[in-house]
């Protein structure tokens, strides 16, 4: 799997995700600068990492969505290439129009960093083939604006098209408002684009890939992608 991680000024989890990609795929990802205009030839996966791109002083992700590199990311997605945006990356994908909806301030109005439980809603996507449908994983969140919101009609469409990939739940997988960490609509933690090739999620699976540090529950995302490309090759 050949992956590229986009670095915007203010990105700060690019090293975390690059380390996870290398650990699981055995291959170091390319780090691309926001001012770059093209992806390395043969790039399979593009990752937009977490952080505070351009300080998030405007709406989160709004400036990054206009960065020079984003045209290449758009083209990659348009060709059906896989794109993952994590945390600030998710916000950027929404601002860039590659995913529907927006991320509002957390319902508690505070930044929150804690482990949450996510239910995997389907396993028949390149992003989740490393998991079983209905499986619950534990990964951390660390954000102030992760409250997913969209027009009710959009939410219904996402639900009916099976585009909600991760949901905040109790440890046993049941829906419980107390475990909806940021107040997201339908407890949505991650969504897919129409063609199911672009994923945005708020939690950080890249921080749970090592048994010594947290857990290995996040590995499945990266392992699933590696398996996907291995099968395609």
């Amino acid at each position: 799997m050949k992956s590229a991680v986009i670095v915007f000024p203010g990105s700060n989890r690019e090293r975390d995700v690059a380390r996870a990609l290398e650990l699981v795929s055995g291959r170091e990802p390319a780090l691309l600068w926001h001012a770059d205009t093209g992806l390395p030839a043969g790039t399979d996966l593009v990752v937009l990492p977490g952080g505070f791109s351009y300080g998030d002083y405007l709406r989160c992700g709004a400036i990054a969505a206009q960065a020079p590199i984003m045209e290449a990311v758009r083209n990659h997605a348009g060709r059906g290439g896989l794109v993952v945006g994590i945390c600030n990356g998710f916000q950027i994908l929404c601002e860039a129009g590659l995913l529907p909806g927006v991320l509002l301030r957390n319902s508690g109005l505070r930044f929150i960093c804690r482990d949450v439980h996510l239910r995997i809603e389907r396993s028949d996507t390149p992003f989740t083939r490393g998991y079983n449908a209905g499986q619950v994983i534990r990964v951390p969140v660390a954000h102030g604006e992760g409250n997913y919101f969209a027009h009710p009609a959009t939410i219904s469409r996402l639900e009916s098209e099976g585009r909600v990939l991760f949901r905040y739940t109790a440890p046993d997988g049941s829906l419980d408002p107390r475990h909806n960490v940021n107040g997201a609509s339908n407890a949505i933690a991650g969504v897919l684009s129409e063609k199911l090739n672009v994923l945005g999620l708020m939690p950080h699976p890249e921080n749970h890939v090592d048994p010594a540090v947290g857990s290995t529950d996040g590995r499945g995302l990266f392992a699933g992608l590696v398996a996907h490309f291995a099968a395609a090759a």
Binding site: N12, D16, W33, G51, Y54, A142
Partner: protein, 738 residues
């Protein structure tokens, strides 16, 4: 610059925080009246914050050397070796006054400043910690200060991208008018790639990097060197505004040009901004410096030389570059979108010359600016020794279990989850032990080494007896590092006190430093960096003396670090260390009996060492399954914390015969640890303790029933304890009465 009639009036001198005697010293040094810009420069260099004029003679008594020390106090931060050509750079610094005036920005820029101190030396920050003290929860400002300070610390560190992994939070009415925000940063660097402030070479360019200079923070350091009266809020313009985004860019740009070999010397612009950084670079290198202020990137037009020299705008650096690498360095800074300007050069004559619009606005002897700052041996009176409170004279109005439930819900002992969940503590993917334990543990690169970190102080002990309190702060930091299995290496100290011109306050400072020195000496725990914050008073009332200790220790294999959670049912719970039932200055005495009095628990440094060394060995050999140091609140609080962290319960034996029950469970005797071991290993551990001369007592067994059971009492469900423990702070912040 020289005018026949001096414009410097006594009022102007006083406004600059200089005494008439200090002003005469300036005139004597330069042989004339200073210009207004020069007066500003002297006031910046000679205020308490920058010159340590009241504390210097005492700070010199601290032990600062040791086998691991690469750089002791005097640089931007301390540096210690952890082997494998790796070094750890760390320091703690206060931002108390700004945080009280403007909590969010004050705390945020406190974090920004300490991070710059660390990466200025070439280190990539790997962790932040803090120590916070607020006033009485019932005080009308406390809630907004907690909210603003915590949001500010999180806002800066989270955006910058460093995990905030530990700290402490406490409340006391003596901080009503003066909260404390002590921020600590820890970084990692190759031991052969450390950068220092001293300039070398004559005629080398001095380069200004980072954000533009604005009118914020002018006289910030002087403000931080005076006590507050009424109307402190009017000082808001002296507080700087933080920009973590620029700081993150500055970090990446600095590390990149350092890696490319462009940098000779580097100094961040912190307190007293351009003045302090330029003078330090020159003075440390025995060189003069000439600055051309017309080249300084400014945020707004029309700034005077005086304003530029005293601005404390954030996220700025000063560097001496290798002349042949200047173009390469500039290209890197432009890539990161940061300002880059050659603003001066080094000179052979040891003068500090500042030019602006064709005039020389300052021409001063550079060495004397720092070296000739006044040093005071201020008169002090020692704190009189308090009477010892005997446990038998302390009432026991409530059953032990009821006391436990009450204490777990008090502001000082309750869970601080509400605070640390606002800090990103998992970024960088190396946090092995998160907040909530004895010390945080962070993996070094890919391991196996790990670094343990903690911040500690018990201000009420320091108030009662500064010497014992100073010792205790060091001992507790050492103990917390030991409790996770680390070998304690070195400390940074952040000394927060009132007005040193009052002899009783000076006595607290002198006593605490003596205690710190004694403990650091005895525990081989040198002080490698630090900060002094004086004048922490409002309208004549001083804070509790608060010498915060930030400790760092090394674990050879992070996977072997111990945690406080019980691990399995039916394990033996052992207490190492002696319990005499010391209730003087205890949380019990304050919260249950409403008395804040007596002598604090004495610290036996030989016992600390003996007991700690055994505990560390038991962890290293994998014998200890859970470990927790016993501190605030005493033994039963420690046991409850171990139960709450695991969900497992414990069946406890009766208290020791010779100690009253309440004093046994809630006394705050020092040098103690609770350790669990598998039942088949208990005998061997007891034999080892006996051989080492470490008092050991069986406390009971862990249990799978999820309840804490005291003798002759109904079991208390651990879930009830958790509810008590977790409820107070979120409830208070949501508006419930303090």
């Amino acid at each position: 610059m020289t005018s026949a009639v001096s414009i410097i009036t006594p009022e102007l001198i006083a406004e600059h925080g200089l005494t008439p005697e200090e002003y005469q010293r300036i005139v004597g040094l330069i042989g004339r009246d200073p210009s207004i810009t020069e007066l500003g420069i002297f006031s910046a260099m000679w205020n308490e914050h920058c010159s340590y004029k009241s504390s210097k003679v005492h700070l010199r008594t601290l032990p600062t050397a040791g086998p691991c020390v690469i750089q002791g106090p005097g640089e931007n931060a301390g540096v210690i070796s952890i082997g494998d050509n790796l070094a750890v750079v760390f320091k703690m610094e206060s931002h108390n006054h700004p945080s009280y005036i403007e909590p969010y920005q004050g705390a945020a820029t406190g974090v920004g400043g300490i991070l710059r101190d660390v990466f200025t030396m070439g280190a990539r920050p790997i962790a932040c910690l803090n120590a916070l003290r607020f006033g009485d929860p019932a005080h009308p400002r406390t809630r907004s200060l907690v909210s603003g300070v915590v949001a500010g610390i999180g806002g800066y560190g989270n955006s910058f991208g460093v995990p905030t992994v530990g700290g402490s939070v406490g409340f006391h009415t003596r901080y009503d008018g003066n909260c404390l925000v002590n921020a600590m940063a820890v970084g990692l660097v190759d031991a052969d790639r450390i950068f220092y402030a001293a300039a070398t070479g004559v005629g080398t360019p001095i380069v200004y990097l980072g954000s533009k200079t604005g009118r914020d923070g002018i006289h910030g350091a002087s403000m931080a060197s005076a006590e507050f009266g009424e109307g402190a809020e009017e000082k808001r313009p002296t507080v700087q505004v933080g920009d973590p985004f620029s700081e993150k860019l500055l970090l990446e740009a600095c590390l990149e040009i350092m890696a490319k070999g462009c940098v000779i010397a580097i100094q961040d612009m912190g307190a007293a901004g351009l003045t302090c950084s330029a003078v330090e670079m020159g003075a440390k290198g025995d060189l003069g410096v000439t600055l051309d202020l017309d080249k300084v990137p400014c945020r707004e037009a029309g700034m005077t030389a005086y304003e530029m020299m005293l601005s404390e705008s954030q996220e700025r650096m000063l560097m001496v570059l290798r002349p042949e690498k200047e173009a390469e360095a500039e290209a890197i800074f432009r890539k990161w979108g940061l300002d880059f300007a050659v603003v001066g050069e080094t000179t052979p004559d040891k003068r500090f010359i500042v030019r602006w619009r064709g005039d020389t606005v300052a021409d001063l002897p550079i060495k004397e600016l720092g070296d000739e700052a006044p040093i005071y041996r201020r008169p002090f009176v020692e704190t009189p020794p308090p009477a010892i409170v005997r446990a038998t004279d302390v009432p026991a109005p409530m059953p032990v279990g009821a006391v436990l439930e009450r204490l777990l819900g008090t502001p000082d002992l309750c869970s601080k989850r509400w605070v640390w969940e606002q800090y990103d503590h998992v970024i960088l993917g190396n946090t092995v032990q998160r907040p909530g334990g004895d010390a945080a543990v962070v993996r070094i690169n890919e391991g196996p080494k790990g670094l343990a970190m903690t911040t500690d102080v018990t201000p009420r002990y320091c108030e009662a007896d500064p010497l014992e309190g100073g010792k205790q702060a060091v001992a507790e930091a050492w103990r917390n590092l030991t409790a996770v299995g680390a070998t304690p290496l070195a400390v940074t100290d952040n000394l927060n006190f009132g007005n040193p011109e009052r002899p009783e306050i000076m006595g607290q400072l002198v006593g605490a430093i003596r205690g710190i020195a004694e403990a650091c000496q005895a525990l081989d725990f040198p002080v490698v960096s630090g900060n002094v914050s004086l004048y922490n008073e409002t309208s004549g009332r001083a804070i509790l003396p608060t010498p915060t200790i930030g400790g760092v220790g090394l674990i050879e294999d992070f996977a072997k670090s111990a945690t406080l959670a019980f691990k399995a049912p039916d394990e033996q719970i052992l207490l190492l260390g002696e319990t005499r039932g010391w209730l003087g200055q205890s949380v019990y005495l304050r919260e249950i009996c409403g008395r804040e009095e007596g002598a604090p628990p004495p610290v036996d440094l030989a016992a600390e060492r003996r007991n700690g060394d055994l505990v560390r060995a038991l962890i290293g050999e994998g014998i200890a399954t859970a470990v927790h140091d016993v501190s605030d609140g005493g033994l039963l609080i420690a046991l409850a914390e171990m139960a709450m962290a695991s969900g497992l319960g414990a069946r406890l034996y009766a208290a020791a015969m010779l100690v009253p029950e309440h004093a046994f469970w809630f006394g705050e005797d020092q040098a103690r640890y609770v350790v669990t071991v598998r039942p088949d290993r208990a005998e061997a551990v007891m034999a080892r303790a006996k051989a080492a001369g470490v008092p050991l007592r069986r406390l009971g067994q862990t249990s799978g029933n999820g309840a804490l059971t005291l003798p002759n009492a109904a079991p208390i469900p651990v879930r009830t304890l958790v509810e008590r423990f977790e409820a107070w702070l979120p409830g208070y912040m949501a508006g419930k009465a303090g």
